[in-house]
Each structure stands twice: as structure tokens, then as C-alpha cells.
């Protein structure tokens, strides 16, 4: 079922940081939400999740760093059980096993607290936790920036593999168009709290229309730049 929201907006201390935005997300969609820092990407992500929750939809969120997702004083098992209970689900060991092996953390010691795991494993645990209720949408907020590239790439690959063939849609929030281009089929460009451009990945890379999209597209590669 298509997810749709309309008129999302956010204000903080009297300043509008997200102008009214409407969007709809097809099942299995792979969407990249890109823009410079401070353009309101994360704000839109949060508003989207909160609104869909109000509609009674199952939507999961993976914050930028595991530090923002896990309580250092609680064990991994506690987190897992809490996440299940929050969705009103009973504890389901096979489901847990399936998610853990899909994300390559089956060997993790659940009695430990987050800091007893490596950061890469923590991040994958957070992703696994997000997938518990077979959500209709998973929102990843800068999933790679707090991790080492090797670990980040592994996590993204595992998630991609898990999601393929499933109904769960994915929104990838990032400032890095090159990263998004590797992972998604559709792109949405944000600038100054507005959603300024939506297009398929190839269209946006080749024929960006707005100024923000042009800047992102022009600066997406590191390699040879005529100065």
C-alpha cells in the first residue's frame, strides 16, 4: 500500500525549518533524500515518521550513529525485547535469529551492553531492530557517516540484500549524492527546508534542474576536477 503524507511542516523557535511538504512512497521504493547540511533532510525524515505513526503505519528509523539509538546502560537483549514490546509483538526467537543472521550479527553476545559490541555491529543491530515488525518504510539517516567505510559498505550491502524482494520501502537520507546514487532509484533534493526536486536517479545525475541539484551533481565525484 502506498504511503502518503501531506502538508508536513516544522517550525523551531519561530523559524520555519521545513516548509509544507507532501509526498507519497510506493512499496519497495528506494528513495534518496539528499541536500546540503542544514537543508532540513533529517527534519523531513522525522516529521515523515511521526506523521506515518499517527496514521497507524509501521515505520522504522535508523539514526545516524548507534550512540543515538542505543542506551549504553542497557543490554542488547533489553533493547531487543523493548523494541518488540513497543510494537505489541511477543518475543519471537526465530525471527530474531533470522534478522541477526541476515545482518551478520548472529554471533553477538546479547548480554553485553552496546559498548561491548563494535560500532559496526551496533549499527547492524539497530537496523535489525528496525526491521522487527516488517515495517512498510525504513528511514536511514546518514547511515554511513559515523562508521568506517568498510563497515558502512558491509552494513548497506546486507540491508540491501535483506530488503530485496520485500515490500519495505527505504529512504536514505544523506548529504552525499554519490552514495545515494549507488543505492537508490529515486532522488529527492532538499534545499532550505523545501523539497525542490524529485526525479529518478539517472535523470537527476544527468539533467539536474534546480540550483541545489546542479551543485550536488557537479560535486558528486572526487576525481579530476579542473580548477
Amino acid at each position: 500500500m502506498t504511503l502518503s503524507v501531506s502538508g508536513l511542516s516544522t517550525e523551531r523557535s519561530g523559524r520555519i525549518i521545513l516548509h509544507p511538504t507532501s509526498l507519497s512512497i510506493e512499496p519497495s521504493a528506494r528513495i534518496g533524500l539528499v541536500g546540503p547540511s542544514g537543508s532540513g533532510k533529517s527534519t523531513l525524515g522525522h516529521a515523515l515518521i511521526d506523521d506515518l505513526h499517527r496514521q497507524g503505519r509501521i515505520v522504522a528509523h535508523v539514526p545516524q550513529s548507534p550512540d543515538e539509538a542505543l542506551d549504553p546502560l542497557r543490554t542488547m537483549r533489553f533493547h531487543w525485547h523493548e523494541a518488540e514490546a513497543a510494537l505489541g509483538l511477543p518475543h519471537d526467537a526465530p525471527r530474531q535469529q533470522q534478522l541477526f543472521s541476515a545482518l551478520g550479527i548472529a554471533h553477538g553476545d546479547l548480554r553485553k551492553r552496546p559498548w561491548g559490541w563494535s560500532r559496526g555491529m551496533q549499527q547492524r543491530f539497530v537496523i535489525a531492530m528496525a526491521l522487527i515488525g516488517s515495517p512498510e518504510l525504513i528511514v536511514l539517516d546518514e547511515p554511513t557517516s559515523a562508521l568506517d567505510p568498510v563497515v558502512a559498505a558491509d552494513s548497506m550491502d546486507l540491508l540491501d540484500r535483506f530488503l530485496s524482494g520485500r515490500q519495505t520501502a527505504m529512504i536514505l537520507i544523506t548529504h552525499d549524492l554519490a552514495l545515494a546514487a549507488q543505492r537508490v532509484s529515486q532522488l529527492m533534493v532538499m534545499d532550505n527546508g523545501c523539497l525542490v526536486e524529485q526525479a529518478s536517479t539517472s535523470a537527476l545525475l544527468n539533467t539536474p534542474k534546480t540550483k541545489a541539484a546542479k551543485a550536488l551533481s557537479a560535486h558528486r565525484n572526487w576525481m579530476p576536477h579542473p580548477c
Partner: protein
Amino acid sequence: MIRSILSLLLRALVVVSGASIVTFILLWNAPGDPALAIAMARYHQVVSADVLDQVRNEVGLDAGFWSAFKAWIGPLLAGDFGKSTVTDREVWPELVTAMSYTFPLAMLALVCGMCVALPLAILATKHPGSVLDRAAIGMASLGAAIPPYWLGLLLILLFAVYLDWLPAMGALSTTHMVLPALTLGLGVTASLTRIIRSGILDAREQAFLPAFRRRCVLSRNIGRDHIAPHATIPVITVFGLELAFLLEGLVMVEVIFGRPGLGSFLVNAIEARDFPKVQAVVLLTALVFVVINLIIDVIYQVIDPRIGEHDA
């Protein structure tokens, strides 16, 4: 595990023995003639030089610091607190009697303080900046600003003198405990409210909490499972430090209300230069501190094993 327990015990030993040795040295070198003070306490009158010499000889003041130190520490290591230099009675039974007055009072003040402070702080932090919150802060500042000796006198004036509801002095019945407990309890409540309130407010700022809300964890559960443990750490840390002030207030309150507890015991002992008694109280206080800090360390270990990980 065994190593960390051993190191904790070793530290405790250092604190306790250090505190008693330092006190011994301080007492020995305090200005004034100890023999005179002891004689005054014994005979309640001015005495001749012969009597003073006799006292000096009996107590061992003329034998010099080291022999006095040995005479004190030898029996102590065997668990013997010695005899009072004034009354020549055993210190230990008198100390136990004094404690039987002091510990119930301290516990009552602590428990009452906690019972008021915890709900008050939780209510106050529901809406930071609200009337209730401001009232709680106001009460906390007031309680911290009023010294116990002044509050004690005010309470005596009000409840014992004008209203004649409660007895002012002594420790004959449980009603005698109400006013001292109130005096002490206000200070305890004030400081606890302040600590718990700021502990909760700080714990609420944890960066991971929004993610838990977005995971649809009930806010009630977030409060219980995530905010409370994070708030506990600063609270028990500061609580351990505040204990010193509680003990200080205890001494004053007991003297004001004429309770024969540790406070009066200590003040009388100091006035009379009754070395064994003073030493006994110091040792006991140091022990209480060490035990409470041990308990705090254990609580840290349970809540957050990372604390003290890199300790020597």
C-alpha cells in the same frame, strides 16, 4: 573481580586508618593543656598543680607522643576502644548507647527526606519552569540556605514554646525525635530535591532518547528504564558527598535538642580532651563514610560498569 574487591578494601583501610591517625596528631597538638581540660571535666573545679601532674601521669600525657600513640593504637588493633580518660569507663558501651540515639534520627531524616524529595523532583520535572517546579527550586534553595541551628531554634520556639505540642529537649520518647528529625529533614529534602531534579533533567537530554520515542516505546517505560538509571548516577555521586553535611548537621541538631547521641558525645569528649572517645567517633564516622562509598561503588558497577574501569 577479586582484585577489584581487594583494592576497594585496601582503599577503605587507608581512609579509616589515615583519618584516625591524623585526628590523633591534631588532638595531641591542639592548643591548651589537655591535663587541665581532663581535670576540669573530672572534678568540675580548679585543681592544684599536683593534681594536674597526677592526671598527666595517669593518662600518659607526660610519656610523650609516641608512647601515647602506641598505648592508643595497640589495644585498638585488638578491637578495644579503651577507657575514657575522664570517667575511666569503657568507651565502647557508651558509644553504642550514643549510636542508638543517633542512627534512628539520621535514618528518619534520610527516609523522610527521600520520601518527599523523590516525588517532588519527579513532579517538578514533569513541566520544567512551571509553578510547581519553581516552588520546588525555591524550597530547595531555602532549605539549603537555612542553617540547622537556626531552624532548630525556630522550631523549638514555635512547637515547644508557643504551641506546646512537642517536647523541645531530651530523648525520652519517640515524640522527642520529631523536632530534630524535622530540622535535619528539611536540609536533606532540600539538597536531595535539587540533586534529583537536575539528575532527571540532565538524563532527559540524552541523545538516544528521541530514537526510543520514534521506536514507539511508551514514555512511561522510557522514564523507568532509561531516564531513571541515567539520573541515578549523578544522584548517588552527589549523595555520597552530601553525607558529610548531614553528619555535620546531626552534631549541631543533637547539641541543640539536648539528645545524648553521637553529636553530644563528640562535643563533650572534645571539650574534655577525652582522647579515646574522640578517636572512637572519628573511627566510626570514617567507617560509615567508607561503607557508604563502597555501596555507591557497587551501585555504579551494577548500573554502569564503565565507571571506574580505568581506575588504578
